[in-house]
C-alpha cells in the first residue's frame, strides 16, 4: 500500500523554464511534507518542507504547494538549471508534536533532467 505516490518517473525540462514535480498521498493523517533531492551515489538531501497548516512555502527558486483537499503537493523550480538534474523524492509524516515518531513515508521519486 503506497501511501505517497509520484506518478511521473521522469521529467525533462529546458534550462530556464519551470519544473513542476507532483506528489499524491492517501493518508489524511499526514501533516508534514518534505522534498528531497538525490544525486547518483549520494544520499538524499533535504530541499524544502511544508506543514499542513500552510498551502505554500517558498525558498529561493523552490516553492512547494499543498492542496489538502486533493491530497496533492507539488514542487516548482523556477528557473530550472542543469544542476537541478537529480531524483526528487517527496515524503510525508504524521505529527510534528511530541507524539511524532519521526517516520517518513517516501514516494518512489521523479528523475528530473534539465537540458542546457
Amino acid at each position: 500500500d503506497q501511501q505517497v505516490k509520484q506518478n511521473s518517473p521522469s521529467l525533462s525540462v529546458q534550462e530556464g523554464r519551470i519544473s513542476i514535480l507532483n506528489c499524491d498521498y492517501t493518508n489524511s493523517m499526514f501533516d508534514y511534507f518534505l522534498w528531497y533531492k538525490k544525486y547518483p551515489a549520494e544520499g538524499p538531501t533535504f530541499l524544502i518542507s511544508i506543514s499542513s497548516i500552510k498551502d505554500k512555502n517558498e525558498d529561493g527558486r523552490f516553492t512547494v504547494f499543498l492542496n489538502k483537499s486533493a491530497k496533492h503537493l507539488s514542487l516548482h523550480i523556477v528557473p530550472s538549471q542543469p544542476g537541478d538534474s537529480a531524483v526528487y523524492f517527496c515524503a510525508a509524516s504524521v505529527g510534528v508534536s511530541s507524539s511524532n515518531t519521526g517516520k517518513l513515508i517516501f514516494g518512489q521519486g521523479t528523475t528530473l533532467q534539465v537540458k542546457p
Binding site: G43, V96, G102, L104, F106, Q108
Partner: protein, 113 residues
C-alpha cells in the same frame, strides 16, 4: 566535514555471511534512522533510535539488528545474508524526534551473491 557518514560505501558478500554497516553523525542530533532503498527505488524506514532508545522497528526480519552505542552512532548488523537483502542502505539523523528534516548519509550498496 561530513555530517552523516557510513562505512563501507560498497559491500559485496556471499549468502549466509554476517555483515555490519556503521553510521556516525557529527551534527549533535538525538535521533538516527536506517532506511532501505530496494531495486524499485523505494526508500523505506527500517529502524529509528532516539537517544539510544529504539523508537521505530518496522517489519524487518530478525536477522537485522540495529545497535546504538551512543547517540552519535547507529550500526546495522545483518546475519545470515540473503539475496533479497541486496539494496542500498541509508543512515539518517534528525535534531530530535519532533523534527522531520532528516539528514542522510551517502548510502551503503550491499550486494549479496
Amino acid at each position: 566535514d561530513t555530517a552523516v557518514s557510513q562505512t563501507p560505501k560498497y559491500l559485496v558478500t556471499q549468502m549466509g555471511n554476517d555483515k555490519s554497516i556503521k553510521c556516525e553523525q557529527n551534527l549533535g542530533h538525538d535521533t538516527m534512522y536506517w532506511y532501505k532503498q530496494d531495486s524499485k527505488k523505494f526508500l523505506k524506514i527500517m529502524f529509528s533510535y532516539n537517544n539510544k532508545e529504539l523508537i521505530i522497528n518496522e517489519t524487518v526480519p530478525n536477522r537485522f539488528s540495529p545497535k546504538s552505542p551512543d547517540k552519535a552512532h547507529l550500526n546495522l548488523h545483518i546475519n545470515s545474508l540473503e539475496l533479497g537483502d541486496s539494496a542500498v542502505y541509508f543512515c539518517a539523523s534528525s535534531q530530535d524526534i519532533a523534527y522531520n528534516e532528516q539528514y542522510f548519509g551517502p548510502g551503503t550498496r550491499l550486494t549479496v551473491t
